[in-house]
């Protein structure tokens, strides 16, 4: 168990290293980093300043270590389009993104999981059929389109719910639905298929032979086994949430890290882009790590293996 965690931890660090190296080299090798890092209208003094700050004449490994070292102590540089420290921006935006991602995740768990279990338990009946239609549609619907359709229906046509920004608790509803939709559908589908598998297993049959109530059979015996493979999907959910927050924040102008990174792309504010990419990647990678460790912890075959 200890070895397993250590191995996964090393892998996570390595992944983050590769991502940072990719960004670093991309900027250094595809031309003049000064042109990438500074806005077009920058003055000659700014160029000179940057050249000194980055130490562009030093060997690449030295530059990389310095760059990473600064980020590790929280110094992400200054935004060229907003003229404030990136760390300041991050402090403002991070809680908003976390709040949105959390709501989307909660929605997926609160709706997808129970619907998946019910769908499997009532297979072939009305609940099951409608849940499956929802799952197929949900997985095939681009979230950006869904977001725009919701925007058109509620704020534009019906005049209810705010169209964008962050104002009061109602403003999170539409972005959270947009974000959680795909994850809910995937979770429903996977829960259903693993539940079907466990419900037809011999140990569920034996549980029924014991005379246990249907509720105990489904939620204790079948669900606990189905939950393990479902957990492996959590990493996919995480991926969907990262992509999804960027899209939902853009569609609804939610003041989080996702909308910030895209506006930085438009403004060619590369200092902000690289900082956010590193931070969001780190969140994603360590989120995955947590899921893996949780999985190992819940699975007795690995725990005692």
């Amino acid at each position: 168990m200890g070895n397993f965690i250590l191995g996964r931890l090393l892998q996570a660090v390595l992944t983050l290293f590769v991502v940072s190296l990719f960004i670093f080299l991309l900027v250094r090798l595809t031309g003049d980093p000064k042109q990438v890092l500074l806005p077009i209208e920058a003055s000659i003094e700014q160029y000179a300043q940057l050249e000194k700050a980055l130490g562009l004449d030093d060997p690449l490994p030295e530059q990389y270590v310095r760059w990473v070292g600064k980020m590790l102590v929280g110094d992400f540089g200054t935004s060229s389009s907003r003229q404030i420290a990136v760390s300041q921006l991050l402090r403002e935006r991070f809680p908003n993104t976390l709040m949105l991602a959390g709501s989307g995740f909660f929605l997926a768990i609160a709706v997808g999981l129970p619907l998946g279990v019910l769908s499997a338990a009532h297979r072939g009946r009305g609940t099951d059929v409608s849940a499956r239609v929802f799952a197929i549609l949900g997985q095939s619907m681009p979230s950006f389109w869904l977001g725009i359709m919701l925007l058109m229906l509620f704020p534009v046509r019906l005049g209810v719910l705010p169209a964008g920004g962050k104002s009061g608790w109602t403003s999170i509803i539409l972005p959270a639905v947009t974000l959680g939709w795909f994850s809910t559908a995937s979770l429903l589908r996977l829960t259903r298929s693993t539940m079907m598998e466990t419900l037809s297993s011999d140990y569920v049959k034996l549980a029924r032979i014991k005379g246990l109530s249907e509720r105990t059979v489904i939620w204790k015996h079948a669900f606990k086994n189905a939950a393990l493979p479902v957990l492996t999907l959590a990493s996919l959910l995480l991926f969907g949430l990262i992509t999804g927050t960027i899209i939902a924040e853009t569609v609804f102008a939610w003041p989080g890290m996702g909308s910030l990174v895209l506006s930085a792309v438009v403004n060619r504010d590369f200092v902000v882009v690289q900082a956010l990419v590193i931070v969001i990647s780190a969140m994603y990678i360590f989120g995955n790590l947590t899921v893996d460790i949780l999985y190992a912890f819940l699975n007795p075959r690995i725990r005692y293996g």
Binding site: Q11, V19, F22, I136, M141, P142, F144, M149, T250, R268
Partner: protein, 305 residues
């Protein structure tokens, strides 16, 4: 023995009256199943439209008709039969753009899957067949790539090098191959232990030949299922990236860009986002349904992917 009636074969066509009902299984009396017939027809139509786009489309997808901008679809107030699905803010014909968009989506999906499946299959078979250190290294790389948030890499790459079709194909393929590699590897692992491969090895056939002639043909059905299931995912990813402005560069008529175009004009032209989004949904649903059907037919063990 002559008086003993020979056992009769399958010539009980009609059960006599009074025996338990056996429903008629004559194929011409059976309705063709909705799945996969309907989605297959849809895929056929989309392919047809993509191939003959320049013949079918009434207008050039990039031609502006500024005097006719914001024309509603045919049948709505202000609509005309000239532009069946209406026009966008530059007066471009949405119907023509959707048809040409199908060509772009399918081309990109096809190329990405071709590259991703080839690389992934090669890596998977080599890793599974040789095992050992090579296997560990290749699979660590695959895990590492899966651990990187693709959308962020796309954002960085586009900020530095600008949006291009080459970029998006590179990025999405890089994301796709590890999935093939993992699944094909596990198939190869079990094939390697089977008698016919053992026999071939005993007979002194070269590893390359065994992989090509004995293992590859046995993973083909898995590959077909995977490729079909991946089309939807790749189309969704490509359109999401294009929507965010880090995918296909405008003015190419990508469905994702078309949805994005409608976002800024929600009050004056609700139809601009609606139909391109529906096109994505139809394409993705169709491929997912056919993929699921194929999987149940060819490779039920792939349940979870």
């Amino acid at each position: 023995m002559a008086e003993i009636a020979a056992p009769r074969g399958a010539d009980w066509v009609e059960p006599p009256a009074g025996s338990p009902a056996v429903p008629s299984r004559r194929w011409w009396l059976r309705r063709p199943p909705i799945i996969p017939t309907l989605p297959m027809i849809m895929i056929g139509i989309i392919f047809f439209a993509a191939i003959f786009a320049s013949v079918i489309a009434p207008f050039s997808p990039t031609k502006n008709h500024l005097f006719d901008s914001f024309t509603a679809p045919w049948g709505w107030e202000g609509g005309s039969s000239t532009y069946i699905l209406g026009t966008d803010f530059l007066g471009r014909d949405i119907f023509s753009r959707i048809i040409h968009g199908a060509r772009i989506s399918l081309t990109i999906a096809g190329l990405v899957i071709l590259i991703g499946a080839s690389v992934g299959t090669l890596v998977g078979i080599v890793a599974g067949y040789f095992g050992g250190l090579l296997d560990s290294i290749l699979m660590r790389i695959a895990d590492l790539v899966l651990g990187i948030p693709l959308i962020l890499v796309a954002i960085v790459l586009v900020t530095v090098t600008g949006a291009s079709v080459g970029n998006i194909i590179f990025i999405v393929s890089a994301f796709v191959w590890p999935r093939y590699a993992r699944i094909i590897r596990s198939e190869t692992l079990s094939l390697r232990e089977q008698d016919f491969v053992m026999l071939a090895r005993v007979a002194g056939i070269s590893s390359r030949r065994i992989m090509l002639r004995h293992i590859l043909p046995n993973v083909v059905s898995t590959l077909i299922v995977l490729c079909t299931l991946q089309v939807g995912q790749v189309v969704l990813l490509e359109s999401a990236l294009s929507f965010l402005g880090v995918g296909i560069p405008p003015p190419k008529p990508s469905w994702g860009i078309m949805v994005a175009d409608g976002r800024t004009n929600l009050t004056s032209g609700w139809w601009i986002s609606l139909t391109p989004g529906l096109a994505i949904v139809v394409l993705v649903v169709s491929f997912n349904l056919v993929g699921d059907w194929l999987r149940d037919r060819l490779d039920p063990r792939l349940q979870r992917y």
